[in-house]
Symmetry: C2
Subunit: 459 residues, 2 copies
């Protein structure tokens, strides 16, 4: 039931060619901003600019925020100063901050110059807060009332100022110094007695963010308290803005994407995959790959100590990748489980002991299972005895025991590394699957050849 | 600024011991439900039950939904039938569905038996929809008005029925057959002329979900259109419920957790890590580990063909883990990037060609970089020439060229596998990093020994 199916690209082109602008405008204003952005984005640049100019200013501003960065830059280049000034002043302050952050510096400066003094002051205040803080995320467009107003007066005030606010679902109560003292749902005003003061419906029970809080705190609180918006206060508890749930949802999505990318052994891209510059993307992947490659060289060093064993029993080398990779796979599961549980707040630092005992038990179970499969592989392989000779049974046992050891160690390392990183103040997501696998590979080489030395007497 | 700091566990215990129940109740009603759940959860079971009984029914219902499954079961066992009946009838229908889904069947049946006929009918209708559909997620507690009502009448209606609704932020307009014809923000009613009909503020522009839609569709639409709630219609376009943004946010979080778990090479747990039953968790991890272990056995088979080469040049085996793991690491990055971009809708099936060309270029760049490091490792190693003798330079070249090949192949396989899986109708997240690594390991063995055969003449 997307409203998009009311109009498609070729229709727009046809109407443009026939210069039926009024008809096109009437069709366009029926469409949701997100769908309009898709529709206009599907046109060539010239038609897109003409179509965009037909939109009323509020719809233009809402639609503009849905374009991707390239499309925004293209439109900015084509719109002309006057149109652009109207547009950039109309965009909601929080969307505007996001836009200015994404644009190249010279475009951003040009846009800031087009702002009215009032809007420029709002935007520069927001841009003064450090990146990744709540201050950067907030909008000053909210409705505030005083506790000594009657509800009827407050409703009058809400009607007057609600038009420009991002939400009237929550109304904020402040004292004479502008300090936040409550947040009330619009429902409470509707259901309250109009003759009574705002005081009568207050519960003085509210949750607020500080302007300097990390934006992840906004994600945590809005999820925890199921709010559509959260108020933001400064260091003196004065209300300075609100953060809305839709912006917070975008932050949560970005943070999760960053986590997933770090968990796969790279730096976060900070841009949609297809939009990120190729050189930058390669650099963000190369860093960890080089670290892991150098780390993995220790497997060669470790194996160097066992070169004699390999010379005596070359078949040992054949099973090495099998053994060490099983530890890496088990470690990958454990680290991802723990990192995600930490990100969701299901697991805290103090839970390390429950996680450890759980994971050691899981590692031993999984190791026994895989070890048994490894043992069967050797014992039941057609012609196995012919190939491996006298070493037939000891080889099977070496595989089984070293698989058990490597899987248990992998699970242990994978589950504990996120705790260690977090304890040391690093991002637990850096305990990526490839990082754990590399750690386990080096250890796996030693476990495997040590087991072989005892069981096959090739040490 | 969590309201939790108004009261802590020991305070509650003290008040309980002194039987100062009124004072305790007055303190409790100041606290947010999410914080109350934490506070009561920190008490022993008996104190928790007593404290919980002190809460007014609406706060009790809101708090109950924040407990984890074990705590809910514990309270249900201790509350007594009468209290339990009040509680279960008070809980919002959408939270109630979630609760009944999580409880063991006998507890769920006992709870359903306690529902009033009206509430039971609502709940059974919802439970009749298949799992993972929008029908399971919705609540019937919304406010609907008719287009021919005056705005003043509509506001009267909203005041009367708004108390029990999940939200009054959006008001739904239906025709005489109950079919949805518009959704309006409460702001539009507040700002409209009370004498005019609802018709005057309608734009007939709305987005709705179908009751049979997959719940992921709710996530997609609510994010796309930045709504606080979406209406749900049946096959005859009749309004049957709404889905609220906070429930959708929970779904989005769950779906992402499932993706992350699949991407790490296991089945999704479907429960918080520390709450999931140990046996089930091990089984969900064991499946893929066994598949990967068996798949990895092909590395042993592949190496079997090159046993002669290893016998002639044992040092070849030393570098094998280094080479093949670099392919796995590169593949892990590529597959995670593509799976996440697909989940966010940034990459579609039709983008496979752009992704392929981008990733081949990235793979070649990264492979050249790591290959160069590998070459330097051999050429610059102290005493390297003494160890590797005549094979000094050819060994370096073998490492460099096979690293290039393996990294390029890993990047290629990692980026294309999600497309193949999705094209075949499978979940792209099954292209997990361990799966890609296993695929690349087998190929890596062949690339490495083939390069060695040509460059070192040991084939």
């Amino acid at each position: 039931m997307d409203s998009l199916n009311t109009l498609i690209g070729p229709d727009v082109e046809a109407l443009l060619n026939e210069r039926r602008y009024d008809q096109l405008r009437n069709a366009l204003i029926e469409i949701e901003p997100a769908d309009l952005a898709d529709l206009i984005g599907s046109l060539d640049e010239a038609s897109a600019a003409v179509t965009f100019r037909l939109l009323p200013r509020d719809l233009a501003a809402a639609t503009f925020s849905h374009f991707d960065t390239d499309q925004q830059e293209g439109l900015i280049a084509r719109l002309g100063t006057e149109r652009l000034a109207v547009l950039i002043n109309e965009i909601e302050p929080d969307d505007r901050t996001a836009l200015l952050e994404e644009m190249p510096a010279e475009v951003a400066n040009r846009l800031i110059a087009l702002l009215t003094p009032a809007e420029r002051s709002i935007t520069q205040t927001i841009l003064n807060y450090p990146e990744e803080t709540v201050g950067r995320l907030m909008t000053p467009d909210y409705v505030r009332v005083r506790r000594d107003q009657t509800i009827a007066d407050a409703m009058q005030h809400i009607r007057r100022y609600g038009r420009d606010a991002e939400t009237v679902n929550v109304i904020y109560v402040v004292d004479e110094h502008g300090r936040l003292i409550d947040d009330l749902k619009i429902r409470q005003f509707l259901l309250g007695d109009p003759e009574q003061t705002v005081d009568s419906i207050m519960d003085e029970n509210f949750v607020a963010l500080r302007v300097s809080d990390d934006r992840e705190e906004a994600v945590r609180l809005i999820e925890r308290y199921d709010r559509v918006a959260l108020p933001v206060v400064d260091s003196r508890d004065r209300l300075v803005g609100i953060v809305t749930a839709d912006d917070v949802a975008d932050v949560a999505e970005e943070e999760t994407t960053e986590d997933i990318q770090k968990m796969s052994g790279m730096e976060a891209l900070d841009a949609p995959y297809l939009d990120s510059a190729f050189g930058l993307m390669v650099r963000k992947r190369a860093g960890w790959l080089c670290v892991l490659f150098v780390g993995q060289m220790f497997t060669a060093t470790a194996m160097g100590y066992f070169e004699g064993a390999i010379e005596k029993a070359v078949f040992l080398a054949l099973f090495l990748p099998l053994i060490i990779s099983s530890g890496g796979n088990a470690g990958s599961q454990a680290t991802s489980l723990v990192i995600r549980a930490m990100a969701l707040g299901e697991v805290q630092l103090r839970d390390w002991w429950s996680v450890l005992s759980r994971e050691l038990a899981a590692g031993l179970s999984l190791g026994l299972l895989l070890g048994a499969i490894g043992l069967l592989r050797v014992l039941l392989w057609p012609g196995g005895r012919a190939v491996y000779g006298d070493n037939f049974v000891p080889l099977g046992l070496t595989l089984a025991i070293s698989t058990l050891g490597v899987v248990t160690f992998g699970t242990f390392a994978g589950s504990m590394l996120p705790f260690v990183l977090r304890r040391l103040g690093f991002d637990p997501a850096a305990a990526s699957a490839p990082f754990v696998a590399t750690l386990v590979d080096v250890t796996g080489v030693m476990i495997y050849f040590t087991a072989a030395a005892y069981l096959l007497r090739v040490g």
